[in-house]
C-alpha cells in the first residue's frame, strides 16, 4: 500500500508539472515586444480579437452623460520597462508608457500625420536642408524649468551625437548642426535631403543637462512620472501644468501593472482589479461579458513570410510567385488571428493611410493550379524542400507556419518548420540572413521610408536579400522628395514593385484589440503603439 501511495505521489507530481506547464511560461504574449529602434518586432501573442473589428474610431467625447474629473486607470502591461530614459529604451511597450511623460516637437496623429506638440510651426527651406521650428512659449518641464530652444539643442545633439558622444538614434544621422537664434527658435541643418526627418521629430525633448532620466524621468508631457517598482508597477500622475489646456489630462493617475501572463490580465480585468488590457487576445476577449468595450484596428504591422531572395530556388521570381499563389491568406487570418486581421499584398499596412497602395492584396489570389504552373515553368515540377524558420516565442508566427506548411504541401513544396530562440533569430535570420523562409511581423513606423527602406540593396539589415535597381531608384527618389503627395506616389510604386517581384509573402496586419471597462472613454487608435491617457476619462454617473 505504501508503494501505491508512493506512486500516487509521483503521479501527483506529474500532474503538478502539467499544471505548471499550463500556468507558466505564458510570457510570450501581448504587447509589442520590440527589439531595437530599427528592428523587426514580431506579432505579439495576441491571436486576433473578437468583436468590433475595424472600429478604430475614437469614442465620442462629451456626447454622453459627461466627463468625470479624476480617477485612476490601471493598465495591464505584459513586459517590464527596459529603460526609463526615452533615448535608451528600445521596447515598444516602454515607449507607449513613457510617451505620456514626454512630448516631442510633434506627436503621432491618428492617420499617421504629424500633429504639432512642442513646436508651434515649422518651415522647410527651398533646398530641403534646413528646418526651422518655432517653439511654444510657456512650456514647463515636470521639474518646473521652462522649455527653451536650449533644451531642444541639448536633446538633439545627444541623439545625433553632436555632443562628441555616441549618437543615440540613427534617425538623426543626417543632422549636421543645430542653431538656436533665440529661446523659441530652433534651426536644424541636414547634411543631405531626408524626407523622413520630419517624422523623427516625435522624439522626446528632455531638459538640458539632466542626466537622471533612467531613474527619475522628467519630460514635458501630460503625465508626470511618479514611481516604478520593478515587477509590480509604474505609476504616472497628472501634470497640472500641462501646456496645452485643450489636451490636458482629466485622469489623476495611471498605474501600469506588470502582468506577463495574458490569462491573468484578463481575469484581473473581469474581477475589476484593472481597467484596461491593451493587446488582449481573441480568446481573452471572448471571456469578457458585458461591461467591457473592445476597440480593434489595424496595428500597422506587416506579418509576412520573408523569403531569402538569394538562396535556390527562391532566387527565381517564378518560384516566389508560386509560393504566393499557394498560400491562402484568408485561411491564415481565419485560423491564426480568429478573423481579426487585414489581408496585405505588400509591405505596408492600411493604417498608413497616406502611403498605402490599395488592391495589391488581390494580386495573388489563392490558386493552386497557377502555383503549380509557375513551379513547372521554373523547373520545379516535383516541388522542393523548404525550411521555415520561426522564433519559438511567438506562437502567432509558429501557428502561421503550420498553416503555410500544410498549404504548400498541396503544390508539392515540402516545408519543415524550425523553431529557434528569439536571440538566435535576431542573430541568424535578421542580422546574417542565414535562412530560407521565416515568418515575422514587422512593426510599423510613422514614416514609410523606415518601412520600405529595408528592401534597399544597401540597407544593412535587408534580410530579404532583395536587390532591385528599379526599387532602389524609387526609394532614393522618395527620400529626397519634399512634396508629400509625390513622395507618397513613389512609395506606392515601390510597394507594387515588391508585390510583382514577390519579395516575400505578405500575409496580414493583425488587429490590435484593447479591452477596457465600458465606463472608460476617449481611447484612440494610432498607427503606432500609443496610448493617449490624456484624452481618456471616466464617464460620469
Amino acid at each position: 500500500m505504501l508503494k501505491l501511495r508512493n506512486s500516487f505521489v509521483t503521479v501527483l507530481a506529474a500532474l503538478m508539472i502539467t499544471s505548471l506547464v499550463l500556468s507558466g511560461c505564458g510570457t510570450n504574449g501581448t504587447g509589442g515586444n520590440s527589439s531595437g529602434g530599427n528592428s523587426a518586432a514580431p506579432t505579439t501573442g495576441s491571436k486576433g480579437n473578437a468583436g468590433n473589428t475595424g472600429n478604430a474610431k475614437p469614442q465620442d467625447t462629451g456626447a454622453s452623460s459627461g466627463k468625470q474629473a479624476g480617477g485612476t486607470i490601471r493598465v495591464a502591461m505584459a513586459t517590464e520597462p527596459d529603460n526609463l530614459d526615452p533615448y535608451l529604451s528600445a521596447a515598444t511597450d516602454t515607449g507607449s508608457m513613457m510617451d505620456n511623460v514626454f512630448d516631442g516637437l510633434f506627436e503621432a496623429g491618428e492617420n499617421s500625420e504629424l500633429v504639432p506638440a512642442l513646436a508651434e510651426s515649422y518651415q522647410v527651406s527651398e533646398d530641403g536642408l534646413a528646418y526651422t521650428f518655432k517653439l511654444r512659449q510657456g512650456v514647463k518641464f515636470h521639474n518646473g524649468s521652462g522649455l527653451t530652444s536650449k533644451d531642444v539643442d541639448y536633446s538633439y545633439a545627444k541623439l545625433a551625437g553632436l555632443n562628441g558622444k555616441e549618437p543615440l538614434s540613427s534617425k538623426f544621422a543626417a543632422v549636421e548642426k543645430i542653431e538656436t537664434p533665440d529661446d523659441y527658435t530652433v534651426v536644424i541643418k541636414l547634411k543631405e535631403k531626408d524626407a523622413a526627418f520630419l517624422a523623427a521629430n516625435i522624439i522626446a525633448i528632455v531638459p538640458k543637462d539632466y542626466e537622471e532620466q533612467s531613474v527619475k524621468p522628467i519630460g514635458a508631457g501630460p503625465f508626470k512620472f511618479a514611481s516604478y517598482t520593478p515587477g509590480q508597477q509604474l505609476v504616472l500622475e497628472k501634470n497640472d501644468d500641462f501646456y496645452d489646456k485643450d489636451k490636458a489630462p482629466t485622469i489623476d493617475r495611471v498605474e501600469f501593472k506588470i502582468m506577463p501572463d495574458p490569462n491573468s490580465a484578463v481575469l484581473a480585468l473581469k474581477s475589476g482589479d484593472i481597467d484596461m488590457v491593451p493587446g488582449i487576445s481573441s480568446q481573452g476577449a471572448l471571456q469578457l461579458g458585458d461591461g467591457f468595450d473592445i476597440v480593434s484596428g489595424p496595428q500597422n504591422m506587416v506579418q509576412l513570410m520573408a523569403l531569402n531572395n538569394t538562396v535556390k530556388p527562391l532566387n527565381d521570381v517564378k518560384v516566389r510567385q508560386a509560393i504566393n499563389y499557394a498560400v491562402d491568406k484568408d485561411v491564415i487570418i481565419q485560423t491564426v488571428a480568429e478573423g481579426n486581421g487585414v489581408k496585405l499584398g505588400s509591405n505596408m499596412s492600411p493604417a498608413m493611410k497616406m502611403y498605402y497602395q490599395e488592391g495589391l492584396e488581390k494580386r495573388y489570389e489563392h490558386n493552386v493550379e497557377e502555383a503549380k504552373k509557375l513551379l513547372k515553368e521554373a523547373g520545379y515540377e516535383n516541388g522542393f524542400k523548404l525550411t521555415i524558420t520561426v522564433p519559438s516565442n511567438y506562437p502567432f508566427h509558429v501557428d502561421t507556419a503550420q498553416v503555410i506548411a500544410e498549404q504548400l504541401k498541396a503544390v508539392g513544396i515540402q516545408a519543415t518548420i524550425k523553431q529557434i530562440e528569439w536571440s538566435s533569430w535576431l542573430e541568424d535570420v535578421y542580422t546574417n540572413a542565414k535562412y530560407e523562409a521565416t515568418i515575422i511581423g514587422l512593426t510599423g513606423k510613422l514614416d514609410p521610408q523606415e518601412v520600405l527602406g529595408r528592401y534597399e540593396t544597401k540597407y544593412a539589415k535587408n534580410f530579404f536579400k532583395f536587390s532591385n535597381s528599379e526599387f532602389d531608384a524609387l526609394i532614393g527618389q522618395a527620400r529626397q522628395e519634399i512634396d508629400v503627395n509625390k513622395r507618397a506616389e513613389l512609395y506606392k510604386q515601390a510597394q507594387t514593385l515588391l508585390t510583382d517581384q514577390a519579395a516575400a509573402v505578405y500575409i496580414m496586419d493583425p488587429s490590435r484589440s484593447v479591452a477596457m471597462k465600458n465606463t472608460l472613454k476617449g481611447f484612440k487608435m494610432y498607427p503606432v503603439q500609443k496610448y493617449d491617457f490624456a484624452a481618456m476619462y471616466y464617464e460620469g454617473k
Partner: protein
C-alpha cells in the same frame, strides 16, 4: 519469473493495462487514424467532442484524437530510445566504477555527481538549444540526462555483488572481467534496473512534453503531447476539452509506467 505474484499485484496490473492500451493505440496509429494528424479543416475549428470527432478539434480544425494517437508514437519512441541510451551508458559506467573500484570509481562517480548537480531538464534545454531542436536531439539530450541515475544503481549493485563467493569463484576460475560483469553480476542486479528504467521512462516522456511545450522538442506540425498542451493553453477557457484531454493522456501514461515500475519492485525487490 514470478508471473503469478505479478498478476496478483494490483499496481502492476493497473499499470500494465494502461500501458497496454496506449501501446495498442500506438500500433493502431501506424496503420490508421480517423483523420490525417496534420490535416486541417478550417470549417471545423475548436469543435467540441462529438461523433465525427471523438475528442473534438484544435484551433486549426485538426482532429485531436488522431493527433493524440499519432503522438503515442513520439512518446514511446522518445521513452524507449532515451532510456536505452541512458541504460547503455549508465550500466557501462556503473559497472566499471563498481567493479574496478578505487580511483576509477572515484573519477567516474564524481563526474556523475557533477552531472546530477544540474537539474536534468535544464541540462536538456541547454543541449537542445546548442544542438538545435528536433526529435533526434531531444532523444539524445534526455538519454544523457538519465545516465547518472542508472550508473549509480549499477555501481551499488556491482559493489555489493563483487564480494559474493560465486563471483570470487569465477575470478578464481580465471574468468575475465567482461564475462564476470555480463554473466555473473548483471543478471543479479536486473530487477532494480528494470524498476529504474520503467520510472525513467515516464520521466523522459514528461521531460519531452516539457521541452516541446517550450518549443524545443518535436517540431510542428508533427504532434507531440507536450506541444499540444502548449497549443491548447490559449483555449483553456473556450475549449477546455482540448487541454483536459491532452493533459489526461500524459497523466495516464506517466501513471501507467509508475504503477508498472512499483509493481515490479514490489515483487522482485522486497528489500525496501
Amino acid at each position: 519469473m514470478k508471473w503469478k505474484q505479478l498478476v496478483r499485484n494490483k499496481p502492476f496490473v493497473i499499470g500494465a493495462s494502461l500501458i497496454g492500451l496506449l501501446l495498442m493505440l500506438m500500433v493502431m496509429s501506424l496503420f490508421y487514424t480517423p483523420y490525417g494528424p496534420n490535416e486541417m479543416n478550417t470549417a471545423m475549428r475548436l469543435a467540441h467532442p462529438q461523433p465525427s470527432h471523438w475528442w473534438g478539434t484544435d484551433n486549426f480544425g485538426r482532429d485531436i484524437f488522431s493527433r493524440i494517437v499519432e503522438g503515442t508514437q513520439t512518446a514511446f519512441l522518445i521513452g524507449v530510445s532515451s532510456v536505452a541510451i541512458g541504460l547503455f551508458f549508465g550500466l557501462f559506467i556503473g559497472a566499471i566504477a563498481g567493479y574496478r573500484g578505487g580511483w576509477t570509481d572515484e573519477v567516474l562517480m564524481r563526474l556523475m555527481d557533477a552531472k546530477l548537480a544540474f537539474p536534468g531538464i535544464l541540462l536538456a534545454i541547454m543541449l537542445v538549444s546548442v544542438f538545435g531542436p528536433g526529435l533526434g536531439n531531444t532523444i539524445v539530450a534526455l538519454g544523457l540526462m538519465s545516465i547518472p541515475a542508472f550508473a549509480r544503481i549499477a555501481r551499488s549493485g556491482f559493489i555489493q555483488y563483487k564480494e559474493f563467493n560465486f563471483v570470487k569463484a569465477a575470478v578464481a576460475r580465471g574468468a575475465g572481467a567482461t564475462r564476470i560483469i555480463v554473466h555473473h553480476i548483471l543478471p543479479n542486479i536486473a530487477s532494480p534496473i528494470i524498476v529504474a528504467a520503467s520510472l525513467r521512462f515516464s520521466g523522459s516522456i514528461l521531460a519531452e512534453a516539457g521541452l516541446s511545450y517550450l518549443g524545443l522538442g518535436v517540431q510542428p506540425p508533427d504532434p507531440s503531447w507536450g506541444r499540444m498542451l502548449s497549443e491548447a493553453q490559449p483555449f483553456i477557457v473556450n475549449a477546455p476539452w482540448y487541454v483536459l484531454i491532452t493533459g489526461s493522456v500524459i497523466t495516464v501514461m506517466v501513471l501507467g509506467f509508475n504503477l508498472l515500475g512499483d509493481g515490479i519492485r514490489d515483487v522482485y525487490d522486497n528489500k525496501s
